[in-house]
Amino acid sequence: MKPLLIRGGRVVDPAQGIDKIADLLLQDGLVRGIHQRIDPPDDAEVIDASGSTVCPGFVDLHCHLREPGYEDKETIATGTRAAARGGFTTVCAMPNTNPVVDSPALVEFVLRKASDEGSVRVLSIGCVTKGSNGEELAEMGELAQAGVVGFSDDGNPVVDSNIMRQALSYSSAQGLPVINHCEVPELFQGGSMHEGWISNRLGIQGIPASAEEIMVSRDIALAELTGGRLHVAHISTAGTLELVRQAKDKGLAVTCEVTPHHLTLSDATVMGVRDGGSPFDPLTSSAYDTHAKVSPPLRGLADVAALVQGLRDGVIDLIATDHAPHNRVDKLCTIDEAAFGISVLETALGSVMSLVHSGEIALPWLIDRMTAAPARFLGRSDLGTLREGAAADVTIFDPDAEWTVDADGFASRGKNTPLDGMTLKGRVVATIFGGEVVFSASP
């Protein structure tokens, strides 16, 4: 493998507090150094990164690669290719495949398949309960030995409070987090979107914010009871943010994540409203956008603003995509029939960069929440940083490049995005994984 010199970019490595124009040398799959000026070794390949930002490869704590079982929606090969195109060099695969990842054999399958066919690093998340059906704990000890980085029944919440208590308690022996999808079924079932004016005018059953907040509140109480490590997946409401803030103030081992879509889109997206439109405008035939149906739902503008604030002040630990690819037919139907989920990996950076361009989030902080913070969460000092000796995982992006989302051109099998046809500002130029270029944008 040839050494790689990335020349003249704005190198941002939040883990080391670096933000400067510099050269970055990668060799033998590792970072060799960042200096004002590095003379390339004889056999080195040189990438001119002037005008671009050079940062650690993004780490996604929450995505759905769908394999095994739902290869029509995504495979490990296509999902990791999508990750590479989005600037992600490490993705954590949620276990709600078919069969679910509740045994070491399944973990092994995912990891081997990833190393054979994957474009980037895949880490495996194991189930909380056997069959992910919420009744008995999965073999968490053996799953941990097989290499899972956390436990989750994502897609479904852990409904039973006693099972959740035991899961938080048992997993503390492994030192691994329980990642819960928090929504109480009684307030969630039958709903397809955020409850508010727009669900009312569309005649779609709404999901109130309290559906999420009740379970978050319960889980925080159980984390306190057990001393276990709780990670709240994809928070969506201002109320949840306050609950997590209070838990942190108490010193509990509670963390949370937010998705690019919950930071940038509101429930008006379901109505087909784009920038400049009003939720009081007449509906058009682009209303009832099934691509905007996601769980938890896109919330109101006040929630979106609160989440951005929570990201800025650090209550939100990290950005995760909740990449949830589906096939065409899963979304080519009415809202009630449509599957929940958005294909996110390839638009994530462009979405969240809007917060940088609007001045709401500083670029180094945004990068921190997508690199150093998730790596710290995973306890991996070799990821999410450009420290000497770290994995040579690098993302180069042009923060100002505008591009139009073309879902049909996604590497992901999931073309399901409400952003299709929209212009985003901020584009991945190249992704380097283990010192090799795994994605490079055509000029």
């Binding site: 409850e195 508010g196 004016w197 009312n200 005018r201 569309l202 005649g203 779609i204 059953q205 709404g206 109130p208 009003s278 009081f280 007449p282 509906l283 058009t284 035939s285 682009s286 209303a287 009832y288 037919v329 080519l332 139907c333 009415t334 809202i335 009630d336 029939e337």
Partner: protein, 355 residues
């Protein structure tokens, strides 16, 4: 066959001038609004367009009362009704409207069609379009199904009721019924009593009535009112329903009412925990002769049907002197004739074949 451009509606129908007291000169009717290809809800109708539909319906109603109820207006056009829910009055009403105008009307129901074999709505609709349907009239249990078709098909789409969302043709016939009795809608107090939360009739009427200047009161137990009508979220600038009143006490709601619209209450609401019992609902919210005395003497009693007599409405009221419920049905045919005419009439620059 003569090709005629932008023919006024009366010569298209070959009929006499309709005689309705409130009807203005039809030569001023904006009967062919630019670009209306679908009828999905009333949120995109202007008051002028609603008036235009009502004025056309006057003419259609005259045809409906002829001995020979047939005009050649839509000869050679195909109307397909695609009903995924049970319906008597709406489906028959569309069928009759189409047939009087000489369109070929084909009825497809969910039962007994390829829908039962698991065909998706998308594929069923594409199939019907491939048969060159000019209009697809759809009723579907899911909100937004007509928008989904409008997005994916070239045919005209008419919403005959989608989930909890909208029932624009019902709302238009309700407006028409009020207008033809009272000469106007502006300023009237219209009370809608019942299952507002789940009612597509209420949602479409909200748009229609507020656009026409009615003072709308929604009356139901709080569990059957959309949550965002119960909080202060309507107090923002530009909210279309800012003036709508919410009243949980039926007596207070009915005071001085010009129109009372009762909605059908489904037994499912009790099972879903929204009501203690239908009995209690009936006692607390049923429209009884005694309660009706609180309204104006000339009050109109309406119901979109089918009725649960004895639950949301007392039989004496439903069939009493103030009831216009059967008239609503007749007006429904006229309104649907007017709407079929509207969407099938060529856009400006087109032509319309006459016999």
């Amino acid at each position: 066959m003569t090709q005629v451009r932008s023919e006024p509606i009366q010569s298209v129908l070959g009929g006499r001038r309709a005689v309705v007291a409130s009807s203005p000169d039809l030569s001023e009717v904006p009967e062919r609004p630019e670009g209306r290809r679908h009828i999905l809800d009333l949120d995109d109708f202007s008051p002028a367009e609603i008036l235009g539909v009502m004025q056309n319906a006057d003419v259609m109603k005259e045809v409906l009362h002829r001995d020979i109820k047939k005009v050649p207006t839509l000869r050679g056009k195909t109307v397909i009704t695609l009903f995924y829910e049970a319906s008597t009055r709406t489906r028959v009403s569309f069928e009759q409207a189409g047939k009087i105008l000489s369109a070929d009307v084909i009825n497809v129901a969910g039962d007994g069609s390829s829908v039962e074999k698991g065909e998706s709505l998308h594929n069923t609709a594409l199939t019907l379009q491939a048969m060159n349907a000019d209009i697809i009239v759809i009723r579907h249990p899911h909100s937004g199904a007509p928008h989904f078709l409008a997005r994916n098909l070239d045919s005209c789409v008419i919403n005959a009721g989608d989930g909890q969302h909208a029932h624009p043709t019902q709302a238009l016939l309700d407006l028409y019924t009020i207008q033809s009795h009272r000469g106007q809608i502006d300023g009237l107090k219209v009370v809608i009593v019942g299952d507002i939360l789940y009612s597509r009739v209420a949602r479409s009427n909200l748009w229609g009535l507020t656009k026409m200047g009615a003072q709308v009161v929604l009356c139901a137990p709080p569990t059957l009112i959309p949550p965002d009508f119960l909080n202060s979220s309507r107090q923002v600038e530009g909210h279309p329903f800012a003036s709508v009143q919410i009243e949980t006490n039926v007596e207070r709601a009915l005071e001085g009412a010009d129109v009372v619209m009762a909605l059908r209450l489904q037994l499912e609401r009790q099972r879903a925990g929204r009501l203690p019992t239908l009995r209690e609902y009936s006692r607390m919210y049923g429209i009884t002769p005694k309660r009706l005395e609180l309204a104006k003497p000339e009050v109109l009693v309406m119901h979109p049907g089918p009725m649960n007599e004895g639950i949301e409405i007392d039989p004496e009221v439903a069939h009493g002197a103030r009831s216009v419920i059967e008239e609503q049905v007749t007006n429904g045919v006229a309104i649907r004739m007017a709407l079929l005419y509207t969407v099938l009439t060529p856009r400006r620059g087109g032509s319309f074949p006459l016999p």
